[in-house]
């Protein structure tokens, strides 16, 4: 379906066996309890509260942002673990790694807090650390995956609305369920394909999900404000700016993902 990239504009690594995996979210089964949301906080030692919107301390939300039980349609909103992650492509210091098994992970030690990824992500699911201003988001529980166990949110779900498995199997399962219930699959083609598939019984918008084109690295131009903030702001410090500059000089072809959108992929 997707031709291989000539060269990947971000680091790629292997955690386990190199086999692609995915989360399956079945909206028909979701009861909006938000146990997944709190479980994510538990696993990652994130503060409680602010469960209504994505941020530095909330990496997963269940939409709409109303109290548990107050809606009959729910949606899961978190990093989609794009197969072609634009967030990683625009990062000026290559702080974001795509793992072959699925996880797209920000390395906080390398992040300079420029916010390019936050702007570029088609789903707007990257938050910012209040202290330090670094980008934070769902890791697909990469640290659990490395030990062969499912993401914590998945293991917490009491309603069977979340599953985790090999991408191919999850894809087949999603198609089968969609066909059986007159539902649709979301996430299979968006942004060139993701590793979080949703089975939806309403439109994506009704489940709180953005409409994202099927093309890899959906066009995005980093805003002037963000560029200026990176150049002259305090975040990342001088060494961070130096690293960004060095990267641009060594790999100038990466700049197109930021400044000449549409040329990517």
């Amino acid at each position: 379906m997707n031709a291989p990239l000539e060269r990947t504009p971000y680091p790629v690594a292997r955690l386990l066996d190199g086999q692609a995996r995915a989360i399956l979210f079945d909206a028909a089964k979701c009861i909006g309890c938000r146990q997944c949301v709190e479980a994510c906080k538990d696993w990652n030692d994130l503060p409680r509260g602010d469960t209504g919107r994505i941020g530095g301390t909330t990496w997963l939300t269940i939409e709409p942002p109303v109290m548990e039980g107050q809606s009959s349609v729910w949606g899961r909103n978190s990093c989609m673990h794009c197969q072609f992650p634009l967030c990683a492509a625009v990062c000026p210091v290559e702080a974001i790694t795509k793992y072959e098994e699925g996880p797209v992970v920000i390395d906080p030690a390398r992040c300079i807090g420029c916010g390019f990824c936050i702007e570029a992500c088609p789903w707007q699911v990257i938050g910012r650390n209040r202290a330090g201003g670094k980008a934070r988001k769902c890791t697909l529980c990469q640290d659990r995956l490395a030990g062969g166990v499912s993401p914590f949110c998945v293991s917490a779900c009491p309603a069977g609305a979340l599953e985790f498995g090999l991408l191919e199997e999850v894809r087949a399962q999603a198609r089968q369920r969609a066909a059986a219930n007159g539902a649709t699959v979301y996430g299979g083609n968006e942004a060139g394909g993701t590793q979080v598939l949703h089975v939806l019984n309403r439109t994506p918008a009704e489940h709180g999900l953005a409409a994202v084109a099927a093309q890899r690295f959906p066009p995005h131009r980093v805003g002037l404000g963000a560029i200026l903030r990176m150049l002259f702001g305090a975040s990342g410090g001088l060494s961070g700016k130096w690293r960004a500059l060095g990267n641009a000089l060594r790999k100038p072809w990466r700049l197109k993902y930021r400044y000449w959108p549409g040329r990517g992929g």
Binding site: I31, G32, C33, Q35, E38, A39, K41, D42, P47, R48, G49, D50, T51, G52, T57, P65, V66, M67, E68, G69, S72, A156, P158, A159
Partner: protein, 649 residues
């Protein structure tokens, strides 16, 4: 944070040796380490440090720790609804870790406004107890009376007593929604009273997170203190001694629960808990036979609405799908006393669910209403009550409109009957006169949990010995000894029709369920104490959280301490064990009137079986006070003044 800033909670120095200004012992894992004292009269807020570790190791949290504090704090002559009344609310070390089932509990203790002479204990689950801990507090001490209707807002260091006039008079649902808007935090959690609490109806409840109620009169205390609600939020979490071990123990606990997880299918057909043994309360306990009570339920849309990080999925929401209430919603908790409540007035089907939503919105404990209204309906049937005293209402069994109106009258104390329904079944029976007292169901003036327990020996014991005169402190019918206790307890199966062994079973179940509550966990997450690993996974969860090394024997001792403290509190206020079988509405002890248990009654073994229960638990069989040896064994010698002195008869 500066001391001068208004609205900021202040750390006090050495208020009392119970709350040490400088800890001599480390704070174990699982505790926030702070209790907030709120004086409503002076609007003074103090942050008290949690007691030292040796006391925490004895009492853990929840009811026992709260009661220990209340025993120290409550003035001997305080009236249940007077200005000196106090409420102590406490979570436990497992509340809000998020990593075990049932880690959702808060228990409040106070002098019961319903009985006037026993411990009131109001426990609740849902999300509010987690929010209190997220705000950074293990518990609260409420004292004094607010100058005007107020609500308390707790957002970590920010503590404010705010004007409640925008929500005064509103039902619990609107209050919750409105207060969340007013504080501007979608994740704030609200515990509030409805009109019943505002009118100081003795059995008013505190209602939280739509689906949950802390009953036994707590709402009346809030009303008497002009406290409409407590809104809590925050970002903190209890520190954990060994997170990895806790995740593992929590997973085992969850596995134990799996066979008992509630499903939508059950909610679409079940007539409630009584369906389990095949008896419900109908027409003021004069029939038990289940007929078509659940009719129409299968047309409803049901959503399970679990408590914070619990996988048992007890609470549920409904959208009624048929009949006159079609389209109306409702929020229900785990039990189903509210179903039996309206069966007891001759109602069935979705009338029951709609009325339940009303009673929870008004904030009245259902059993209290069930038995008072049941008596009124029977009095009407028998000609003892006429329309002149009902404000024209016709009290015919199953009359939905009358019941709905009566609920309003009760919550607002309207009219002769409304006021007496509010006061409770005993005052109503007295006012009705004639034989009415003979038809009453109550325990110590309160209501038992509204199920027809009469065919079940252990549950009857549980309800008769319950302190609030109402719901039990956590027993249940367990016919065989728990597997996880196989090396210390081996008995059963007990014969459900014979008294032998049930007192012991009840005492053990109470110890264990108390222990579960003291951890800050919900008894509904310990529903099958016999299941393999049920108790061990719970203990491993506690130890992983706190860093302790507690055994099941320690758990039984902790639960036992809670039971003993409760007796001591009762003794201080005039309770004696004898009240358990003497101060009971006669109908509750009548033989089962019909159905498959017809003729069965525990009355033939009274008081022996209750006395056996007290003896087994080291208390005097008439006074209910602990024997000196019991206090010694449990390390509660400081209460020696309340021990039984006289020789056993």
């Amino acid at each position: 944070m500066t001391a001068e800033e208004p609205g900021m909670a202040q750390q006090v120095m050495a208020a009392d040796d119970l709350f040490p200004a400088t800890r001599k012992t480390p704070l174990p894992g699982g505790y926030m380490g702070r209790i907030l004292r709120v004086n409503l009269s002076t609007e003074n807020f103090e942050v008290l440090p949690l007691p030292e570790e040796p006391l925490l190791k004895k009492l853990w949290g929840g009811q026992a720790l709260a009661l220990y504090i209340l025993l120290r704090e409550l003035a001997a002559d305080a009236q249940p609804l007077g200005p000196d009344a106090k409420v102590v609310m406490m979570t436990g070390p497992l509340t809000a870790t998020g990593l075990t089932p049932g880690g959702t509990k808060m228990c409040a203790v106070f002098l019961s406004p319903i009985t006037g002479y026993t411990l009131g204990r109001a426990a609740t689950s849902g999300f509010w107890p987690m929010a209190l801990r997220a705000a950074g507090y293990d518990g609260l001490i409420l004292e004094g009376v607010a100058r005007r209707p107020s609500y308390l807002y707790i957002d970590e260091e920010r503590v404010e007593l705010r004007d409640a006039s925008p929500v005064w008079g509103l039902g619990t649902r609107d209050t919750e929604n409105r207060l969340r808007e007013l504080v501007g935090h979608r994740d704030a959690r609200v515990a509030c009273i409805g009109p019943a609490g505002e009118h100081v109806v003795p059995a008013a409840m505190l209602v939280n997170d739509y689906n949950h109620n802390a009953a036994h009169g707590l709402g009346a205390l809030f009303g008497s203190k002009k406290l409409k609600a407590i809104v809590a939020r925050g970002t903190r979490r209890p520190p954990l001694h060994d997170k990895k071990a806790l995740i593992d123990a929590g997973r085992r606990w969850r596995k134990v629960l799996e066979p008992t997880v509630y499903t939508v299918q059950q909610r679409l057909k079940s007539p409630g808990y009584g369906g389990l043994w095949g008896a419900i309360t109908r027409n003021n306990w004069r029939s038990t036979v289940i007929t078509d009570e659940a009719r129409g339920f299968d047309q409803n849309r049901v959503t399970l609405r679990p408590c914070f990080q619990c996988q048992r999925l007890c609470p549920w929401d409904v959208e009624i799908g048929e009949g006159p209430h079609k389209g109306k919603g409702g929020h229900f908790n785990a039990g189903s006393e509210w179903m039996d409540t309206f069966y007891n007035l001759g109602l069935k089907g979705n009338d029951v669910l709609q009325l339940t939503e009303r009673i929870n919105d008004l904030g009245i404990e259902c059993g209290h209403f069930a038995n008072a209204a049941g008596l009124a309906f029977e009095a009407w049937e028998k000609g003892l009550l006429q329309a002149d005293r009902t404000q024209g209402l016709v009290l015919q069994w199953g009359n939905h409109a009358s019941v709905e109106r009566l609920l309003e009258q009760c919550a607002r104390r309207e009219g002769w009957l409304g006021n007496l329904l509010a006061e409770g079944v005993e005052p109503l029976a007295k006012a009705l006169g004639g034989d009415a007292p003979q038809w009453a169901v109550h325990t110590k003036g309160g209501s038992p949990a509204q199920h027809d327990w009469r065919p079940r020996i252990s549950d009857m014991l549980d309800n008769l010995t319950g302190s609030g005169g109402m719901k039990s402190q956590g027993g249940g019918s367990y016919a065989v000894s728990p597997r996880d206790l196989a090396n210390t307890e081996q008995w059963g199966p007990l014969d459900p029709a014979l008294p032998e062994g049930w007192a012991r079973s009840q005492m053990l179940a109470e110890q264990l369920k108390q222990a579960c509550g003291l951890m800050g966990c919900c008894w509904f997450a310990l529903i099958d104490i016999n299941a393999e690993d049920a108790l061990n996974s719970m203990m491993d969860s506690l130890n992983a959280t706190t860093g302790w090394n507690m055994t099941l024997e320690d758990a039984r001792a902790a639960g036992h301490r809670s039971m003993i403290l409760q007796s001591i509190f009762g003794a201080q206020h005039g309770w004696r064990a004898e009240h358990d079988w003497k101060h009971v509405g006669p109908r509750f002890l009548e033989p089962v009137p019909d159905g498959k248990y017809q003729g069965f009654t525990i009355a033939r073994w009274l008081p022996d079986i209750v006395q056996e229960y007290y003896r087994l638990s080291g208390r005097h069989e008439l006074s209910g006070r602990p024997l000196p040896g019991t206090l010694e064994r449990l390390g509660l010698e400081e209460f020696a003044a309340w021990a039984e002195r006289e020789a056993r008869p």
